[in-house]
């Protein structure tokens, strides 16, 4: 068993609220020690010593919302290519969305994903399964069997269940299995043909808008049903002040609810769409600046528990089109950490809270290993230079698809090394 000692690093571990200069000892696949105390243990015999002065060690990120093209659209992204992008972005675990082709709504497909991941992926891949068969929003999928096979959450991916009774039954049934219902909400009737945030900016562009209420109405319904059923509900991607307020009220009522947000909703606003830039067509749409500010505050105060990349690879065939005809979504695995660190550099959100939302909180919510540097845990960790600036360039993107919202952006905070179960899977 090889032993590596990372010394003189700043160690930030939200699972233990630890932020101190110290060392991390990786023994084989696990963490033997991490923190100031590990520093004093000295180097174990035969250990490789890595000096990390000026660098920071974080638990590897756990990205709870990643769309992959495999199966069905491998030209956009495979499990292998997504994992390479993840490793470069410091993401050591991903939860893969089930809206693939075919839909992951069956044990055989969960097994396919796990098998493909085992054979081709360099980070941990955890499949989420569909709440309803074929994402049709009518019949429940086999929560028990799917969970046993390895599905870590139940979600409709980009889709919203419109039938309240189906949602109530799913929440009730999921409770018996301790499963989390992880749901994006957008009322399809109210959103209608909308393609960006409703408001003056969309009106001038002549684009149909999506009102904030299209997100909030099904979200409020879900939160009420989560209270009724006392079930575990995760609002997957909120984007408005209105939604944050709804989640905050439900939490105050003691409901077992959590909320996530895509980093784009905290980094960008509707004006970034500019003159019909389709890479900025996202779902939920980029909102007004007031909403972005409210999202940042909701992350700071913990209303938003989890930050995700909402990685969604799209090719030229779905993006090189007029705005309203283009697909929504943007890749984000490689920029998740650096985009989130803007909030740290701007002193808007404490570093500990940011790393919690990117790693510890999602691991805990979905019952995954990782999200911690505690002794005995799997050595999923990253060495980061929090200050190092870098430029996002298309030719450096590892994803098969290049639809990033951050092309040409200057970001600060670079992943120098990524370890999954003690093995180095990325080195800058």
């Amino acid at each position: 068993m090889s032993v590596t000692l990372f010394q003189n690093a700043r160690i930030v571990d939200p699972s233990r609220t630890l932020d101190e200069i110290g060392a991390v000892i990786v023994d084989g696949k696990t963490i033997a020690a991490a923190g100031a105390s590990a520093h004093n243990q000295g180097a174990p015999e035969g250990a490789t010593i890595v000096d990390c002065r000026g660098k920071t060690i974080l638990p590897g990120l756990v990205d709870a919302r990643v769309h992959i093209g495999e199966p069905g659209a491998e030209h956009r992204e495979t499990i292998a290519s997504a994992s390479t992008a993840a490793a470069a972005g410091g993401v050591t675990s991903i939860i893969m969305m089930p809206d693939t082709d075919p839909v992951i709504d069956d044990v055989a497909l969960v097994e396919f994903v796990l098998r493909t991941a085992r054979d081709t992926a360099i980070v941990n891949v955890f499949p989420a399964a569909a709440i309803t068969r074929g994402l049709r929003g009518t019949e429940m999928s086999e929560f028990g069997l799917l969970r046993e096979a390895g599905a870590v959450a139940f979600t409709e991916g980009r889709h919203t269940i419109s039938n309240a009774l189906v949602m109530r039954r799913a929440l009730t049934y999921a409770r018996d299995f301790g499963a989390v219902i992880d749901h994006e909400t957008q009322d399809p009737d109210l959103a209608s043909t909308g393609v960006m945030n409703e408001g003056l900016f969309a009106s001038w562009l002549g684009l149909p808008g999506i009102p904030r209420e299209a997100e909030a109405i099904p979200l409020e319904r879900d939160l009420m049903l989560a209270r009724l059923t006392r079930s575990n509900y995760h609002a997957a991607k909120i984007s408005t002040a209105m939604s944050a307020a709804a989640v905050s009220r439900a939490k105050a009522d003691g409901a077992a609810v959590t909320a996530g947000a895509a980093i784009a909703s905290l980094s960008l606003n509707e004006h970034d769409v500019g003159e019909y830039r389709t890479f900025f067509r996202l779902s939920p749409p980029l909102r007004a600046e007031e909403d972005r500010v409210a999202m940042v505050e909701a992350l700071r105060d913990g209303t938003i528990d989890i930050l995700v990349s909402s990685h969604d690879p799209q090719d030229v065939d779905t993006k090189r089109l007029p705005f309203a005809d283009a697909a929504s979504g943007a890749i984000g695995l490689e920029t998740l950490l650096a985009a989130a660190l803007r909030l740290h550099h701007n002193e808007e959100v404490p570093l500990m809270r940011i790393i919690d939302a990117l790693s510890t909180a999602p691991a805990k919510r979905f019952g995954l290993p990782g999200g911690t540097l505690a002794p005995g845990a799997a050595a999923d960790l990253i060495v980061v230079d929090l200050e190092e600036p870098w430029l996002v360039r298309e030719q450096d993107i590892r994803s098969r698809s290049k639809n990033t919202c951050f092309e040409g952006a200057r970001l600060q905070g670079k992943v120098l090394q990524t370890l999954v179960a003690g093995s180095t899977v990325h080195r800058a």
Binding site: G199, L200, F201, L205, G206, P208, E275, P322, F323
Partner: protein
């Protein structure tokens, strides 16, 4: 026309929207269009300004009047005009707008006129081709030549645009004509009103530089110009307004409602009209109507736009840099 006093150089390569134009750009195009009106009224209507130049009309939405207006404008300037109608093109075979654009671009046209159902389509095309692009209507975004021809019609009838009160009535929300007109009329100093049921108004309308009215009586009060918009049939059967008869009752322009406007108010409509829906026949054909003049001005404005874009002083090779 060689004796024509030289116009200032038009500073843009494309005409994608009124939004990109300064008041002086607009005035320049209107001045050039005044000259073009004179050409169209001669018995010899053909000039040689654009001789040897190629104009392609790429219409993804059927529009007999706009397409023929552009075609006639090009022909009167001596250009070779080709119409690409969607039905006979590879668009039906699933080719994307950009691939079609690249193909057409390889044929080295000097000007591409595009009509498309999606907002932003003209701008997207302009990024990918080497020639000038004229937006002939993109979704609910802009229809700049319509706003220019409306302005020319008003200016010729009223002698000015500044400080006139213009009421734009009807389906503002889905209308590219409304957006382009709001921009242009504001740029030239008119007072712009919109009159519509609230279901046909876009979000944020009160911040778009207009006064908003929900009744024709108030909205038309003292107006110098009443501009009616077409209401698509599928929008008047319960989705946005309950019925045709209810819409006509409250928002259709008839003699009674027109009384609220000034006695010499102009009545305009971009066409094609739904008689008895947004406008009564007696008004459309009445003495205040300038709807036929609008059609005539349409050809003149399009001639002016294409001459300005292909001005040989700026663009000697016909390929913009």
């Amino acid at each position: 026309m060689n004796e024509r006093a030289p116009f200032p150089l038009y500073p843009h390569r494309h005409l994608l929207g009124i939004k990109d134009l300064s008041p002086s750009d607009i005035e320049l195009l209107l001045d050039r269009a005044d000259d073009a009106v004179a050409i169209s009224r001669q018995s010899e209507k053909k000039t040689s300004t654009l001789r040897g130049r190629t104009q392609i009309n790429l219409f993804y939405e059927a529009s007999t009047r706009t397409q023929s207006s552009f075609e006639l404008a090009g022909k009167r300037l001596g250009a070779d005009v080709m119409n690409m109608s969607v039905a006979s093109s590879s668009v039906k075979k699933g080719e994307t707008l950009i691939d079609t654009a690249m193909t057409l671009n390889a044929m080295r046209p000097d000007i591409l006129v595009i009509r498309h159902a999606s907002a932003g389509a003209a701008a997207l095309l302009a990024q990918k081709v080497g020639c000038s692009v004229v937006n002939a209507g993109d979704g609910a975004h802009e229809h700049p030549t319509q706003a220019l021809l409306d302005a020319l019609t008003i200016r010729r009838a009223k002698g000015k645009i500044a400080r006139l009160t213009v009421a734009i009535c009807g389906d503002i929300g889905h209308s590219r004509v409304a957006r382009s007109n709001i921009l242009l009329l504001n740029a030239l100093g008119a007072r712009v009103r919109v009159v519509a049921p609230s279901t046909l108004l876009p979000a944020g309308i009160s911040a778009m530089g207009v006064e908003v009215f929900n009744t024709m009586k108030e909205g038309l009060h003292g107006a110098d110009v009443v501009m009616m918009l077409r209401l698509q049939r599928e929008r008047m059967q319960g989705a946005f307004v309950p019925s045709v008869r209810e819409y006509f009752r409250y928002y259709g322009l008839d003699a009674e409602k027109l009384k609220a406007a000034r006695d010499d108010a102009l009545v305009m409509h971009p066409g094609p009209m739904n008689r008895g829906v947004e406008i009564a026949s007696e008004i459309a054909d009445g003495p205040q109507s300038v709807i036929q003049e609008q059609v005539e001005m349409g050809v003149a404005v399009r001639m002016a736009v294409m001459e300005a874009l292909l001005d040989p002083r700026r663009n000697p090779e016909g390929v913009a840099g």
